[in-house]
């Protein structure tokens, strides 16, 4: 996972739109999102869906990395409790979700920016409803803009780097 700012253009534009990264489980929520599509249910276009085999595959690193690369919100969709294709995966997700929410809160990322929702394969409508709700919630919170914040943090290093470079030029001249 290298640094690869992908969304700076979107988050720094004046007409900011929330960007939500969604991790959907292959067996339930992703299938439900497909159903929403074929049923022509419209939902906000602010979401980028990533299909994973199980919500339990969502490493907390993925969530942090999404925020670090410009996401304003992260949505995790998995099977209802008891319905996990791999028996226990969604319970693990649930437990990680509670602890991750505490870490995010302590590191200054508002609670509403991470959401876990159980959505079964038949619940296309719930996909649309959840996404629309989350987009509204994140819109109300405003942009997170971590890629921009990181650049601002590093601006204090730029002066000393310029000085070091000019010294280098001076010594080699």
């Amino acid at each position: 996972m290298e640094d690869r700012p992908i969304t700076d253009k979107l988050v720094t534009s004046a007409d900011w739109e929330p960007l939500i990264v969604a991790f959907f489980c292959n067996w339930c929520t992703y299938t439900a999102a497909d159903l929403a599509g074929v049923s022509r249910m419209g939902y906000d276009h602010n979401v980028r869906v990533i299909r994973v085999m199980c919500s339990g595959r969502v490493d907390p690193q993925f969530v942090l990395d999404a925020f670090a690369h410009g996401a304003d919100g992260v949505l995790i969709g998995g099977c209802h409790p008891g319905d996990c294709h791999y028996v226990e995966g969604n319970y693990k997700t649930l437990r990680r979700y509670y602890l991750l929410k505490r870490v995010l809160r302590d590191l200054g990322i508002e609670e509403g920016r991470l959401r876990l929702e159980w959505i079964a394969a038949s619940e296309g409508e719930k996909v649309a409803k959840t996404i629309n709700e989350m987009v509204e919630q994140v819109r109300a919170l405003g942009p997170l803009r971590l890629t921009r914040r990181f650049k601002e943090w590093d601006a204090e290093l730029a002066s000393i780097e310029a000085q070091a470079r000019s010294e280098e030029v001076a010594t080699h001249a």
């Binding site: 996972m1 339990g56 490493d59 907390p60 690193q61 969530v63 942090l64 990395d65 925020f67 670090a68 409790p81 319970y91 693990k92 649930l94 437990r95 990680r96 509670y98 602890l99 991750l100 505490r102 870490v103 302590d106 590191l107 200054g108 990322i109 997170l144 971590l146 914040r149 990181f150 943090w153 204090e156 290093l157 000393i160 780097e161 070091a164 280098e168 010594t171």
Partner: protein, 322 residues
């Protein structure tokens, strides 16, 4: 006789334990001192910055810098030593991943200065004087380094060739590293000079770790009678072993204390805190939200525990709204 290879040691924001660990080489330091010329080591030898500045660029074979980077002076020294050295090594947790000092990244510069210079119970400072980068005194200007807004690892400031992990690194790893450098058989750039396996893999209590941990309660080590033979996690005591690199010879564990994660993560892990969070949470033996939250409530400070040595190098680097 050709000149011996030159090495240097420097410290930035650190406690001094890394310097101590070099002395911990004991008799082996003679072997090292015989093989190399130590050209700069402020804690032990009387060379000044101007001596380093006078050296030709790249004339030092290797410099080991310990400590994280908090001030403009430390940045300058990092740049200077980078320029003068063929190989720059981040020595110890602070230089490697930010270390304990980078836990300060949870607070703003203003919060830190206010606490230290105004609010600390032992401070009397009615005029609320704060240190200034420049202060006129008796016709001259006194200067202090700038205090940066963020604590950084060495590689967030200059390019680093190798890392020696640990709080502090063990004399054994240091000796191995010096011998490797002298052999000329250099590992790929960016290598952490310690085994690339998890702590659990070489833990003396490995056999007592159940396949399924089923944690029902988190206990704090200072409130618990710790079984000296059994896996800490199996006793409900947070151990960073699963998310930490091995190579420390399990010193804490042999002292009946859990791993706190100073060796940083293995090469496959980007964010040590997220990784231990994942391992611990999935091992909690509960399915209902209330029960899960109750058990996880036994971890009072997840950021301070999971990122004790690595907040600067974590994916978020700091509290994002400070």
């Amino acid at each position: 006789m050709p000149d011996k290879p030159k090495v240097a040691f420097y410290w930035c924001a650190s406690c001094g334990g890394c310097e101590e660990s070099i002395v911990d080489l004991a008799e082996d330091i003679l072997e090292v001192a015989q093989a190399v010329d130590i050209v700069f080591w402020p804690v032990a030898m009387d060379f000044k910055r101007k001596h380093v500045e006078a050296m030709p660029d790249g004339s030092i074979l290797a410099t080991m810098v310990n400590g994280s980077i908090r001030t403009s002076e430390q940045e300058e020294m990092a740049h200077l030593l980078r320029r003068k050295s063929q190989i720059l090594i981040a020595y110890g947790s602070c230089a490697h991943t930010g270390g304990v000092p980078s836990l300060a990244n949870q607070f703003s510069k203003e919060q830190i200065l206010r606490t230290v210079y105004e609010e600390a119970p032992t401070v009397v400072n009615e005029q609320k004087v704060r240190p200034q980068p420049r202060h006129p005194y008796d016709g001259t200007a006194l200067t202090l380094p700038e205090f940066r807004g963020l604590v950084r690892s060495l590689d967030q400031v200059v390019e680093v060739d190798y890392y020696l992990p640990g709080c502090p690194p063990t004399p054994k790893l240091l000796k191995q590293a010096v011998l490797t450098l002298l052999s000329g058989q250099l590992p790929p750039k960016g290598t952490v000079l310690a085994p690339d396996t998890a702590q659990c893999d070489s833990c003396p209590r490995k056999e007592s770790k159940p396949a399924d941990l089923k944690i029902t309660e988190f206990k704090r080590p200072h409130w618990t009678q710790i079984d000296p033979e059994k896996c800490f996690l199996a006793q409900g005591i947070i151990c960073m072993g699963p998310a930490t690199r091995s190579g420390c010879e399990a010193q804490c564990i042999k002292g009946n204390m859990p791993c706190t994660g100073c060796f940083g993560p293995t090469s496959r892990v980007r964010d040590q805190g997220a990784k231990i969070l994942s391992a611990l949470a999935s091992s909690v033996d509960a399915r209902e939200p209330e029960e899960i939250e109750k058990i996880l409530g036994g971890i009072p400070d997840p950021v301070g525990t999971f990122y004790r040595y690595s907040l600067a190098k974590s994916l978020l680097r700091a509290k994002v709204t400070r």
